[in-house]
C-alpha cells in the first residue's frame, strides 16, 4: 500500500504526466509590486443572536472590546472591520444561501443556477490567468446528511450551472500547488491535448466547455511544473519552511482541527508564494451535521445545536441520541462551536500577519471576508448576517472598527468592493453598482 500511496500522490500531481514548458507566465518572474490577495471564508449554521456584535465600540466606531464569543479574534481587533446589517436580498437558506453566498442571484435547484458567476471566479477570470491555480477552492470532508447535496457544498460558480469543485485533502492541494513531476512525458501531453481539441471541434456550444475543462487541466499541470521549477518559488518555499509553513505531513490529518489548520496553512503558503492570489474555504458544508464532540463541553451536531431553542432532542434536526438540559446550555454549546471556528481563523490571521510582504505584512495586502449566510441559526434569520472583513486590502480598507449601517447592506456591495480592491474592473455585481466604501 505504501507503493500505491506514493504512486497516488505522485499521480495526483502529474497523473497526466506532463512536461516542463518554458514559455509560461510564471517564468516571467514575480511582479515587483505586491498584488492584493483575497480570501473568502465561509461557516455554516449562523451565530446565536447576541454572539457576534462587539461588546464595546468607541464613539467613532472603533472596536474596543469584541463579543465574548469572538474572544479568539480579540488579538486581531485592529485588523478587523465588522459589518452591520448585511443581508442577502435573494434569500439565504442552508442550500440556497450557501450556493449564492458569493453570487449576486438566487438559487434554482432545477437548473443549478446560482444567479451567475461567483465573486472569486469573476476575479480569477480577470487576474488569475498567470497563477498556478487561478483560485484555490477548499473545503472539509462532509459528515452526515447533506454531505452530497450540491447546493450545500458549492459556493463558487464559474458560470450559472457550473459549480467549482472543492478540494479537501491537504496533501493533494500541496501536490497540486508545488509538487510537479520532473520526469514528464511531453508527447503524452500533446497527444491528449490533440485528442481533446479534435473532439471539441465536433461539439455544440453547450458541450464545448466540458472539453475546455479537460484542456484546462492539462494547462494547469504545465503551469505547475514551470512554477515548481522556478528558482524564486524554491526560495520562498525554503523561507516559508523556516517560518514553520511546510508541506503537510504524509499521513492523513489526524482530526478535524488538524485538517482545517493544514488547509489554512496551505492558503497562507499559496498566497505568499504567488501560487495564487485568490482562495476560498468552506469551514464546513452549508448544513453541517458534524458531531462537534471534539470541542470540550459540546455534544450533538453543529446544525442541531444551531436550533438551540429546542433542547429536548426530539426535533427533526436532532440525531435522537442527544438532548440538552436547557436552552441556555444548548446555546452555550452553539457559541462554543462558533468560537472554536473563530480560533482557527484567528490562527490563520496570525500566519498572514507573520509573513513579511513588501514593507509590511501579507495581511496588509490581503482582504479576508469571513462569515455565514445565516444570522441566528434557530430561526434561519436573514437580517444582520455575521460578516466581517480582515486585512488591509493593500491600503484600501480602514480596519479596527465597526462599519455602522442603519439600513440593510446588500452583501453584493462587499463583493463589488473586493473586486475593486483586487483591481478587477467591474461596474456592477448583479444589480449592485455601488461598492461598499470601507476606506
Amino acid at each position: 500500500m505504501t507503493l500505491q500511496r506514493r504512486e497516488f500522490l505522485r499521480g495526483a500531481a502529474a497523473s497526466v504526466a506532463l512536461p516542463l514548458l518554458p514559455s509560461l507566465a510564471w517564468s516571467r518572474g514575480r511582479a515587483s509590486t505586491s498584488p492584493v490577495r483575497a480570501v473568502w471564508l465561509y461557516f455554516p449554521n449562523g451565530v446565536a443572536e447576541g454572539s457576534w456584535h462587539p461588546k464595546r465600540v468607541g464613539r467613532k466606531g472603533q472596536l474596543v472590546k469584541l463579543n465574548a464569543a469572538m474572544a479568539p479574534l480579540e488579538r486581531h481587533r485592529d485588523d478587523l472591520l465588522l459589518l452591520e446589517n448585511v443581508h442577502m436580498p435573494e434569500g439565504n437558506g442552508h442550500g440556497a444561501g450557501t450556493a449564492t453566498w458569493l453570487t449576486p442571484g438566487d438559487w434554482d435547484e432545477q437548473t443549478l443556477d446560482a444567479g451567475g458567476a461567483s465573486v472569486d471566479q469573476l476575479a480569477a477570470r480577470a487576474i488569475g490567468g498567470d497563477s498556478v491555480v487561478p483560485a484555490l477552492s477548499l473545503s472539509t470532508p462532509g459528515m452526515g446528511f447533506f454531505s452530497s447535496s450540491l447546493s450545500r457544498n458549492t459556493m463558487s460558480w464559474s458560470a450559472s450551472g457550473r459549480p467549482v469543485f472543492r478540494e479537501t485533502d491537504p496533501r493533494a492541494v500541496f501536490q497540486r500547488l508545488f509538487g510537479a513531476s520532473p520526469d514528464a512525458d511531453r508527447s503524452l501531453l500533446d497527444g491528449l491535448r490533440a485528442q481533446a481539441k479534435a473532439l471539441r471541434k465536433g461539439l455544440g456550444a453547450d458541450d464545448r466547455p466540458k472539453l475546455d475543462e479537460y484542456l484546462e487541466a492539462i494547462r494547469g499541470v504545465e503551469r505547475r511544473i514551470a512554477f515548481a521549477s522556478n528558482a524564486a518559488t524554491a526560495r520562498r518555499l525554503a523561507e516559508a519552511k523556516e517560518l514553520g509553513l511546510g508541506a503537510p505531513p504524509a499521513a492523513a490529518p489526524e482530526d478535524h482541527k488538524e485538517s482545517l489548520d493544514q488547509l489554512f496553512d496551505l492558503i497562507a503558503l499559496a498566497l505568499w508564494s504567488g501560487a495564487t492570489r485568490l482562495a476560498s474555504l468552506m469551514l464546513d458544508h452549508g448544513q453541517s451535521n458534524r458531531y462537534c464532540t471534539f470541542i470540550p463541553g459540546v455534544k450533538g451536531t453543529w446544525h442541531a445545536l444551531s436550533h438551540w431553542k429546542e433542547f429536548d432532542g426530539r426535533s427533526e434536526d436532532d440525531d435522537g441520541e442527544t438532548s440538552w438540559s436547557s436552552r441556555k446550555s444548548k446555546r452555550a454549546m452553539y457559541d462554543r462551536v462558533v468560537t472554536w471556528h473563530h480560533e482557527r481563523v484567528a490562527r490563520f490571521l496570525d500566519r498572514l500577519a507573520q509573513l513579511p510582504e513588501g514593507e509590511g505584512r501579507l495581511l496588509d495586502q490581503t482582504i479576508v471576508v469571513y462569515g455565514s449566510n445565516i444570522a441566528d441559526g434557530h430561526d434561519h434569520a436573514e437580517e444582520d448576517l455575521p460578516i466581517l472583513v480582515a486585512g488591509g486590502g493593500g491600503g484600501a480598507i480602514r480596519t479596527g472598527r465597526q462599519l455602522e449601517s442603519r439600513r440593510a447592506l446588500n452583501f453584493s456591495r462587499v463583493h463589488l468592493a473586493t473586486l475593486k480592491a483586487l483591481g478587477v474592473e467591474s461596474e456592477r455585481f448583479g444589480d449592485t453598482r455601488r461598492p461598499l466604501d470601507w476606506s
Binding site: 500505491q4 497523473s15 497526466v16 452530497s148 447546493s151 457550473r162 461539439l203 475543462e213 435522537g320
Partner: protein, 600 residues
C-alpha cells in the same frame, strides 16, 4: 385523389394550435387573479411560484412541472390558504391542469438531448474492472458525485469535469494499471502487449479505432519500450489511453444531427444503463457489424446482459438511489456500541437485498404488483436471523422463495424501514412520506410556515403519549390535516417494525403497536400486507408511472422534461400490462433511448 383543402393541410403539418393558456382562458384567469395572484405575483413569488411569469409563457405545457406543484396544493386544499375555493373555481382550475396533462401527451415525445458528460466514480471503477480485470476501490481516491435533489449520480446535468477530478481520475487509472501489470508477479492482462493495447483501447473508447489512433498508440509503446521494461512501458501506454477524453467522457454518442443514435452509441447506452460500465466485446462486435439495432439481436442482448452478474449494478445504483437504501451504512449509521446487531455487514446485506430484489423482478419479468407482494427475497445468515427465517447459512446472499408474510414486497424490507426512521424512534411521517414520494411519486407539499412551533406545543402537551396519539392531535389542526391525513396512516401500517426494521409488538413507548390505518378516501387497512393490498388496488397507476419515470431518468442519465411524459405514460402502461422485464425492454426501445438531438 382530390387535393386537400389548404386549411386542412396547414393544421395537419403546423405545430399544434396554440393552447389557450391561463392568461387567455377567461375563467381560469379569473380564479387565479382572485385567489392566487396576491402572493404569487412576480414581486412576492411566495414559494417560488410566479404566476405572472407562468401567464407570460407562450406554451403553458412547457411549465408542466411547475403547474403540477400548484395542482397538488389545490387538490389537497392547502392553497389558497385561509380561504376555500368554491366548487366551480376548483373545477375550473383542475380542468385547466388536466388540459395541460393532455397537451403534454399529445405534443411531447421529442427525444431530448443528453449533454456530454464524464463517467461517474462507479462507472470508472466498473470500466477499469472490465477492461483490466482488477478491482480497485476508488472511494478513497475520487470524491463522490454531488447530486441535485432527487437526482441520480449518473446525471449529465450534475457531472462536471473539474480539472482536479480529471487529475485524480488519472491517478486512479495508474493505480489500477499497477495492479493489472505489476513489475513482478502475475498480470491480469495477458497476451502480446500490442494486442493488449488494441483490445483495451477499443473497449475504452467504446467504438472502432481509427487507423491513426491505433498506430500512434503502438508507436508510443514502442518508444517507451526503448527506455524501460516491457510491463512498465505497457502501463505508460495504457495510462495515456485511460486518461484520454475518449475514455473518461461519454463522447462516443455525440451527433451533429437529430435522429437515431449509432449502433456504438446504443451499445454504450445499453451497457451504462444495465451494467454501469462500458460495452463488452460482444456488444462492440455487434455494433461493428451494424447488427445491434436489429430488434431480435437487441432483445437477446438485453436478456444476456440482465442475466450477467454485472447487471447487479442496475439493482444497486438504480434501486438503491430510487428507494433511498444507498444511504444505509453511510449516511444512516447507528452507533455500533449501542446497537451491536446493526453491523456494517447486516446493513450491507439490507442494501443488497433491495438491489437483488428489484433486479430479480426484472430478470423474472414479474408483474408490476410483485414490487409490493412478491414472496421471494434474498438474505444471508445475518439478515435471515433479523427476519426470523431459519436454515440460511453463510455470508453470501441467497434466494429464499417464501419470506414471512410481513416481509413480502418492498414494504417489509429492513433496508427501507431503517432508512425511513429517526435514529431513536420510528416515524410514521417519514415512512408515509417515503410511500407517497418515492414509491407513488406524489410527494406531499412542504409544511406550511409555523409548523415547527406547533410541534413544540405538542411536545409540552403530550410528553409520554404514543406516537399515534401525538400525531392524531397534530392532525386535529386543519392546516396539518390536509397533508398528514394522507401521510401518517401509511406509516401507521408499518409500526410493527422498529427503527432498524425488526418486527415488534410494542412501540418505543411500550404501548402495543396498532397497525391500522385509514385514508381520506375511506380505504382501511392493517399492517404491511393490508397496505400493500390497498396500494395494489388503488395506486398501481401512480406506482407504475413513478417506476417508469425513475427508470427512464436513470437510463438517459438526465432529468426528465415535460416532453418525456408521453414516453413515461407508454412505459407505465407496459409495466402494468407486461411486467418489470418488459419495462426495461421498453425503455431500451423508447424514442428518447434510441434517438438523440444534436450536440448543442
Amino acid at each position: 385523389m382530390r387535393p386537400l383543402p389548404l386549411l386542412l393541410l396547414l393544421t395537419a403539418t403546423a405545430p399544434a394550435a396554440a393552447h389557450p393558456g391561463p392568461a387567455q382562458d377567461e375563467a381560469v384567469r379569473e380564479v387565479f387573479e382572485e385567489s392566487c395572484i396576491e402572493c404569487h405575483d412576480s414581486v412576492l413569488t411566495e414559494g417560488g411560484f410566479d404566476l405572472e411569469f407562468l401567464f407570460d409563457v407562450e406554451r403553458p405545457v412547457t411549465q408542466l412541472f411547475a403547474w403540477r406543484k400548484a395542482r397538488a396544493m389545490v387538490e389537497i386544499g392547502a392553497m389558497p390558504p385561509r380561504q376555500k375555493l368554491d366548487a366551480d373555481a376548483r373545477r375550473t382550475l383542475l380542468g385547466f391542469f388536466d388540459s395541460l396533462e393532455t397537451r403534454a401527451l399529445a405534443e411531447g415525445g421529442a427525444p431530448g438531448y443528453e449533454p456530454l458528460r464524464r463517467l461517474t466514480r462507479a462507472e470508472l471503477q466498473n470500466s477499469l474492472r472490465d477492461l483490466l480485470g482488477v478491482h480497485v476501490d476508488l472511494a478513497p481516491l475520487l470524491p463522490g458525485e454531488l447530486v441535485a435533489e432527487g437526482g441520480f449520480t449518473a446525471n449529465s446535468k450534475t457531472l462536471f469535469v473539474h480539472p482536479d477530478w480529471l487529475e485524480r481520475a488519472g491517478s486512479a487509472v495508474r493505480l489500477a494499471l499497477l495492479e493489472a501489470l505489476p513489475d513482478r508477479g502475475k498480470a491480469s492482462l495477458r497476451g502480446a502487449p500490442e494486442a493488449v493495447l488494441e483490445r483495451v483501447m477499443r473497449g475504452a473508447y467504446r467504438r472502432p479505432l481509427t487507423g491513426a489512433e491505433l498506430s500512434e498508440a503502438l508507436a508510443r509503446f514502442a518508444k517507451l519500450e526503448e527506455t524501460r521494461p516491457r510491463r512498465a512501458a505497457l502501463r505508460e501506454a495504457l495510462a495515456a489511453v485511460l486518461s484520454s477524453p475518449h475514455f473518461l467522457m461519454r463522447a462516443e454518442g455525440t451527433q451533429t444531427e437529430a435522429g437515431p443514435i449509432s449502433d456504438h452509441a446504443l451499445a454504450s447506452r445499453l451497457s451504462f444503463f444495465l451494467w454501469a460500465s462500458g460495452p463488452d466485446e460482444t456488444l462492440l462486435d455487434l455494433a461493428d457489424a451494424g447488427r445491434l439495432g436489429d430488434a431480435r439481436v437487441l432483445e437477446a442482448q438485453v436478456a444476456r446482459m440482465l442475466a450477467d452478474e454485472r447487471a447487479l449494478a442496475l439493482g444497486e445504483l438504480f434501486a438503491g438511489q430510487w428507494l433511498g437504501t444507498d444511504a444505509l451504512g453511510t449516511l444512516v449509521k447507528p452507533d455500533p456500541i449501542d446497537v451491536p446487531f446493526m453491523t456494517d455487514s447486516v446493513m450491507a446485506a439490507m442494501r443488497a437485498e433491495v438491489a437483488r430484489f428489484v433486479l430479480e423482478l426484472i430478470r423474472e419479468d414479474r408483474p408490476a404488483t410483485a414490487l409490493l407482494d412478491a414472496r421471494f427475497s434474498f438474505v444471508n445468515e445475518e439478515l435471515a436471523r433479523f427476519y426470523g427465517i431459519k436454515g440460511v447459512r453463510g455470508d453470501t446472499l441467497r434466494r429464499v422463495d417464501t419470506v414471512p408474510a410481513e416481509r413480502r414486497g418492498l414494504l417489509g424490507k429492513a433496508g427501507i424501514l431503517a432508512t425511513t426512521s429517526y435514529p431513536d424512534r420510528t416515524s410514521p411521517v417519514l415512512r408515509g412520506n417515503w410511500v407517497l414520494t418515492d414509491l407513488l411519486g406524489t410527494p406531499p407539499p412542504p409544511p406550511p410556515p409555523g409548523a415547527s412551533e406547533f410541534d413544540e406545543d405538542l411536545d409540552e402537551e403530550l410528553e409520554d403519549a404514543s406516537q399515534r396519539a401525538r400525531l392524531e392531535l397534530h392532525r386535529s389542526r386543519a392546516a396539518c390535516a390536509s397533508c398528514h391525513d394522507r401521510i401518517d396512516p401509511l406509516g401507521f401500517a408499518l409500526e410493527g417494525f422498529d427503527r432498524y426494521g425488526r418486527s415488534r409488538r410494542r412501540d418505543d413507548e411500550g404501548n402495543r403497536v396498532d397497525t391500522r390505518g385509514k385514508l381520506p378516501n375511506g380505504a382501511t387497512f392493517r399492517g404491511p400486507e393490508g397496505l400493500a393490498k390497498v396500494l395494489v388496488k388503488h395506486h398501481m397507476n401512480d406506482i407504475t408511472k413513478q417506476a417508469a419515470r425513475r427508470l427512464l431518468a436513470y437510463a438517459l442519465a438526465r432529468p426528465l422534461t415535460w416532453e418525456d411524459e408521453r414516453t413515461v405514460a407508454d412505459l407505465a402502461a407496459t409495466l402494468e400490462e407486461k411486467g418489470w422485464g418488459a419495462l426495461v425492454r421498453a425503455v431500451v426501445d423508447s424514442k428518447p433511448f434510441r434517438h438523440q438531438e444534436p450536440t448543442r
